[in-house]
Symmetry: D2
Subunit: 275 residues, 4 copies
């Protein structure tokens, strides 16, 4: 069982929480705790085993913590995810494969695409695909349709697996800290479009990718994971794009693993990730 | 203040410890806890701030933990270190520089060398250098002299900074889990002499280095840190040696940082490192 | 166009080759040359553009080089590959996805499995799957059947994508330097079975994977690519296996890319890889 | 012997060069050639052995290449370097150690500091130290004095080993592609002052360092080498600074190695680095 707690810090929080767990004969087999002393925020992730507990456990914890504490006790029902895609297959295929073989740590409910090229790969995995073209509708109608499909499925998270449209503040506001994007640069370098072209022109010796929660500032949301790979003079902008796909796939997979294993807290446009 | 605890696991350890800290108004700003469930061992590292505490804190903790618990409350006096070297300068120089500028996290008391080539660099940093030649004495006498100098200085740790002699079980037994060695391969590959030559002949695509505590099995002690660098066909055995020195310096520096910051527990020929 | 040359070294080889190319108005846009001075072997990879050339080019090159020189002028017909698998999906699925989307750099002709669990994923990509159970036949018959299917398809390379049976010298000898295996450790550490269990017991701080050509010494063939990932005390042998799959997939993908892009030479149980 | 050539590309350059070398019985043991096809630029680095050659070799090569070709034939006299520093010791100490033990690949002639704190470490290595305070003089006078000392020593390269003053265009123009700086971020992220503070505030999961030639755009010169290290929520801006020093030291060492081994070409605000 995993217990997540985030709240205003004060002396004695670990003592209160661990006393309740000990009383229930629950053994803490792994614990990570962090206090952001600038912000006076307390974060903890506990893996506990053995013991007996029921709904009263959360109630007891809540009684011992500040009133607005965030508490999350797993096992939740398996997390559910909707994917948004455009034309690039690499992140989508990686997620579909993991979902198919039961190693994603979540269940993919369906895929929304603003093009049809990725319908075929979804069909091969019996995965529902919803085509909403951004060309057939105004931006507002386009987003209303997307929101409708998402809300119909009630996912826990929405993953932009190379979805190449910018979402409006209205849509983002509906799913705070629940939309995860993969950006094809090591942010904050190369914000916005064509990062590989910019990287090529700048002559950088490494390129990267960043998985982050989506906020209303373009590519400015809380970063979950970043990785880089070395490049050199023999790379063109096109071969950087190709090499970059590998790292995009890998860093998105890692970020999703962290999120689905309940290792990520969001605050102040940052994350705490207990790896 | 850092508190380290290692003991037999049981339900309620975190509760007992944290209640004592809360009572003393000590705030836990960072905590790492791990239970080895195979071995039923409990490990915890707590960074606490504020509050007041005196010698009674350790007493109270001891009262709440199993009888043979390991407890370590810092600030200790600054850790003290003796270095053993042979002819290669790279690890020694890195440590001397950090020691000189106060960023090592420990104090180097002196350097014992079985050759004299590194006396000059020690002199430049006003660092005592003790020359004990392995050629002038029997192995037993050689080690008796080394042990004598070490014991005279009472170091917390002994660092083999490219010391190319194998220590006898008798000497190792005097300093259990207190002798740190840097081995020039990613163990367990290439145990023993000439690892780079073996790596070259095998045609590996990466070489590495391993910092470990010394036990009585050659290159078999508990591993603290390991790193690798890529190599390719253009490397000779000699250029692997040269490239390897960089990674040896770096991995020993990292291992010492972990040890000096009280992040390393030893058990069952393994380590727990709370990075 | 890519030109590969491997032969005994002598003064003037680059001059002879490049004179022939210049005469044909071919421009060398990228060239890598390496001489193994211990072994007196010459290796070169040239990317050339423009100009006109026909079958006489290879003839001219052959005339200018030592009699037993290896010369390979691309574009060949697209390379063809057979895969051998057992039960683990991760490497297979990665290759099938790349094959499906045309980014593998080769064509997968079919998959041979000694279990049936991976038939379904092959079916989903319309990929022929041949089930040859090692339990239904003697080792000799088992390999005769596998060899038969392979020879029927005439692949350029055979990829052991987590095939958990050891091939006999007779089978290996049929396809020299054409069988590529992924081994789940950074060789030469942890040769043979259960490397993650051994890694866990040794308490290593990094685990890895190695892609290599298969020779008749178990896990001793020429290494093409190796990568590692960090691990720590929180890993069990089982979670090392899981983490290792990521690196196995990645390192096999990289090795295949190098091989399919004609960047790999084999000699003396080693490889030259012009990345 | 190393031969470097950079010039306008045309068909037959390799043939011309290699014919001249073959005629002199020089064997090319390693060769890297690259053509930037956008820019029509040819770059080559050749390591040759054996044979006899004199001053006529360069003359012959010059006759075979376009008129404004850059040709550099080593062994040159050992490269000479001046260092500029402020207060941070880490890059300076690393370079002084390598210089002292003869492994830098160049000779350090002296150190100019705008503070006096690093005089002591220079004295310990008998290294001339020149104190020019930026506070005692106008910027113009300050730079005139620095330029005077540099010109008196005639270095091949000037290394800004954490020199925290921005050089004027006039000074930079005197030493084109000869001033090497270490910047404490993975450019182009966090250009300018306080990159670690910005990195901390942005919540990035990796920080880096960049070694580059100095041009007249702040932090915009040709990049030679870049590296990163992972960070997380437990880092403060101050601990990022500390961790960053390790990577700054390492990346500057690598860039200097590349430059001193004649592996770096500069063009179009980029570099070609034949590693």
């Amino acid at each position: 069982m995993i217990i997540l707690i985030q709240c205003k810090d004060q002396v004695g929080l670990v003592a209160s929480v661990s006393a309740i767990l000990a009383e229930a004969q629950l053994n803490i087999v792994s614990m990570r705790e962090h206090v952001d002393q600038d912000d006076n925020q307390f974060f903890a992730r506990l893996e506990v085993s053995n013991g007996h507990y029921g709904p009263e456990l959360e109630e007891k914890l809540r009684g011992a913590l500040p009133p607005d504490a965030f508490i999350n006790i797993n096992p939740l029902p398996q997390k559910k995810v909707m994917l948004l895609v455009t034309k690039e297959y690499h992140c989508l295929a990686d997620i579909l494969i993991r979902n198919h073989f039961g190693t994603l740590g979540a269940t993919v409910l369906g895929v929304i695409g603003n093009h049809t090229v990725l319908q075929d790969i979804c069909d091969r995995f019996d995965m529902p695909f919803f085509h909403i073209s951004h060309e057939d509708w105004s931006k507002e109608e386009f987003e209303t349709k997307i929101t409708g499909i998402i809300e119909q499925h009630s996912p826990d998270y929405i993953v932009l697996a190379k979805f190449m449209r910018i979402l409006s503040p209205a849509l983002v506001a509906k799913f705070p800290s629940r939309i995860i994007n993969i950006h094809h640069s090591f942010l904050p370098a190369f914000i916005g479009a064509n990062p590989y072209k910019k990287a090529f022109e700048r002559g950088v010796k490494l390129i990267g990718a960043t998985a982050h929660f989506v906020s209303n500032e373009l590519d400015e949301g809380p970063i979950i994971a970043q990785q880089i790979i070395p490049v050199n003079h023999s790379f063109t902008a096109a071969s950087m794009v190709k090499a970059g796909k590998e790292i995009e796939t890998s860093v998105l997979a890692k970020a999703l693993k962290m999120v689905f294993e309940d290792r990520v807290f969001v605050y102040r446009n940052k994350t705490v990730v207990f790896e």
